[in-house]
């Protein structure tokens, strides 16, 4: 059951300051409304994982590890590999995170990231089948939030796509006895798109790209729009208890499209895709 959350108490003086600044088109950290915090991407940080990446978005820090195993394909898709995305809001990342099974926020985060990757067909799942109906590569994308300072969706999705581009999977040959065998050879995961999510928060009548936690806590709603390399929209999620007017949605979509282009270049150059 989903319950209205108790939001982080934000000092009145701080929220007033944020609102006053927004009236002049400025933000508490000096950014423009449509500016991202500095993004740094590092890939291949966990040697035992088949792929990995850390992404920092200002003080938000996310680690994604990819494990690849073999297993049976899903019964409704016997001819494709399997992709699963899971997110952990680690208690070490913020005082508000408690240990325990994934709550609705971590499930929503994982599912929004999943949707962007799946619907853009970023991973060519059809190439990940080994024996149709019997054996397939199973790709686990595990998102580890290390420090929470807002906009977990964008940081997680960027780390996920950077890690996937960095993933090498073992070549598997099916012997004459029909038994699949792992070989010592590795090949890159088949990647065919680079979906970029852009999250926009609404405070009063202002739309802000890449909100920090303080902005997120006072935003009435957020919207994440994910754009493929061809410029198609492949996933949208409105989140939070407020609303967006249809005009605001149109404006957000245009901003998202513009920012996604910029960020994709950054990802491609640092992930070497």
């Amino acid at each position: 059951m989903s319950i209205t959350p108790q939001t982080e108490p934000l000092a009145k003086i701080k929220s007033k300051q944020i609102r006053e600044l927004l009236k002049t088109g400025k933000r508490i950290d000096g950014r423009e409304l449509d500016a991202y915090r500095p993004i740094t991407i590092e890939t291949g940080v966990i040697g035992k994982a088949e792929g990995s990446a850390t992404v920092s978005l200002g003080n938000t820090k996310v680690l994604v590890g990819i494990k690849v195993e073999t297993g049976s394909p899903n019964s409704d898709t016997p001819n494709t590999g399997v992709l699963t995305v899971n997110a952990e809001l680690l208690p070490l990342a913020h005082a508000i995170f408690e240990p325990g099974p994934p709550d609705e926020n971590s499930i929503e985060l994982a599912r929004v990231v999943d949707r962007g990757i799946r619907e853009s067909k970023a991973v060519d799942l059809e190439k990940l089948i080994i024996v149709p109906g019997k054996l397939a590569y199973v790709v686990f994308v595990d998102i580890y939030i290390l420090n929470h300072d807002g906009n977990l969706v964008d940081a997680s999705a960027l780390a996920a796509i950077a890690a996937l581009m960095n993933t090498k999977i073992p070549k598997i040959v099916v012997g004459e006895d029909g038994e699949p065998k792992k070989t010592e050879e590795f090949k890159p995961l088949p990647i065919q798109d680079c979906p970029i999510p852009v999250t926009i928060a609404k405070i009063g009548g202002s739309l802000l790209v890449d909100p920090v936690l303080e902005e997120e806590n006072m935003a009435s709603a957020k919207i994440t729009i994910t754009i493929t390399k061809n410029g198609n929209i492949c996933a949208i999620q409105k989140s939070g208890p407020g609303t967006f007017t249809l005009d605001e949605i149109v404006e957000a979509e245009k901003t998202a499209r513009r920012k996604a282009e910029e960020i994709r270049e950054k990802i491609l150059s640092s992930a070497g895709g």
Binding site: M1, K238, G242, T243, F244, R257
Partner: protein
Amino acid sequence: METVKRKLIDENGLRVDGRRPDELRPIKMKVGLLANADGSAYIEQGKSKIIVAVYGPREVHPKHIGLPDRAIIRCRYHMAPFSTTERKSPAPSRREIELSKIIREALEPVIFSEYYPRSMIDIFIEVLQSDGGTRCAGITAASLALADAGIPLKDLVAACAVGKVDGQLVVDLNDEEDKEGEADMPLAYIPAFNAASLLQMDGQLTEEEFFKALEMGKKACLKIYEMQKQALKERYLKIKESVEAGEENQEA
């Protein structure tokens, strides 16, 4: 093994169930059918059947989850094990947990929750039969159940999905269109604010298609909004009749 994919739009431009692209499925709404609930509603949209109950405002339990300045809203979207072709485990799935959250967030903007501090309003959505569009039909019915419970609302929320099948934008997708189509975009619309309180999308749409889909979704939601008002009027006429009949009995 190649399976031949069925065409979702035929040569006359009609869909698998004979509808035009902008045509809704047949919709039936009924308000006030559960005796115990403070408010309830039932909706049939095509083959999808959903029942919603609202309890509250009532005392918060446990007390510490209450808010000092407004009511908390609790929302559960749940699918019956027999609602789908393959039995669905009754345990809440990740999908149901996500939908419960975004449905709560779709309904909260219209509720005057500040009238009821330290109390809670519960919304229970049970999908009895699922054939696509259940989150939207659930929202449509839940706002009727909230109104039936007498909870002050800023407006009703009407919801409907827009999608893309065989390259064409269509409204109110059924299960087959949702599964085989190229995109699905559920939208919950609040006419009084001209705003969306739920917007999701999966699949692929160009910018032009997206803007067109928003307009189509708004139009579809406005049609559903009219049906919602009609369903509420019918409920109140019934109450009025029963009250008047009661008065006559007393006089006699």
